[in-house]
């Protein structure tokens, strides 16, 4: 009557079809309990699957792509580019003389394109008023559930190149 029957036990039909009709109460309860236990096993397997997926997930390899020349854009200016694929739209902002930041342009709420508001010094999503910090892409206000993925930039001579995406 456990989850797995041993061959030495009585046949299953003797358990399931008793000669006493009142014993049906036991049979239905046992079957329901077994179903609940198997459902519990399913939930556990689901959690294990997430654990294995998180342990053995490969970190994706990103290409190196030229974004802009140094001093190509003014301070508080922006440049739009695509990275890592032509379908991934990104926005680069020059925050000071020597500092550049770049983020995915896709809002983490419903994927509208975010734009840079120089007046408020933040990234804004026009669809549902989701605002992101220019410093680290974190959510300042609105419905977005997580920060904008950040593009890692590197200086290569007089060029700025994108080398990775953080927080996808």
């Amino acid at each position: 009557m456990s989850l797995f029957r041993s061959p030495n036990e009585e046949p299953l039909w003797k358990d399931e079809f008793s000669v006493f009709t009142s014993d049906e109460r036991y049979v239905t309860r046992r079957q329901f309990t077994k179903f609940l236990t198997l459902a519990s096993l399913g939930m556990f397997v689901g959690n294990l699957w997430i654990l294995l997926k998180s342990r053995f997930a490969k970190s994706p390899a990103f290409p190196t792509s030229e974004v802009a020349e140094l001093n190509e854009i003014p301070i508080r200016g922006v440049k739009l580019f695509n990275y890592p694929t032509p379908q991934d739209h990104c926005i680069m902002i020059r925050t000071s003389e020597e500092e550049y930041v770049a983020y995915s342009q896709k809002c983490t709420h419903l994927s509208c394109a975010v734009y840079y508001s120089a007046k408020n010094d933040r990234l804004e999503c026009p669809c549902h008023q989701g605002f992101f910090s220019v410093k680290d892409g974190s959510v300042l206000q609105g419905p977005p559930p997580r920060p904008l993925p950040q593009i890692t930039l590197e200086r290569d001579g007089t060029k700025l190149v994108a080398i990775a995406v953080k927080g996808t």
Binding site: M1, S2, L3, E10, K14, S18, V19, F20, D23, R25, Y26, R29, R30, F32, T33, K34, L36, T37, A39, S40, L41, M43, F44, G46, N47, L48, I50, L51, K53, S54, P145, R146, G167, T168
Partner: protein, 81 residues
């Protein structure tokens, strides 16, 4: 045919019903735990994944223990075939 004390049978059924109610509660907690773990993982926080799996395993072993308890009670309070 062996006769069994009706009060013993009734007690057995009550015990089985109680165990079933407990398993249902454990299962609801496990469903919530799975959805919460999945949501945190997809949000990029992998720190909650291991504790979630351990806690889910503990809940499953509790459900398994209750299942064997139900089987034991059934054997002791049900009439022999």
């Amino acid at each position: 045919m062996a006769n069994l004390d009706p009060s013993k049978q009734r007690r057995g059924l009550v015990a089985i019903d109680g165990a079933m109610a407990l398993i249902v509660i454990l299962l609801i907690v496990q469903i919530w735990l799975l959805s919460a773990t999945l949501e945190t993982y997809l949000a990029g926080h992998a720190g909650a994944v291991l504790p979630g799996a351990i806690f889910s395993g503990l809940l499953f072993s509790a459900a398994l223990t209750l299942n064997s308890f139900v089987n034991r009670v059934e054997k002791s309070s049900r009439r022999p075939h």
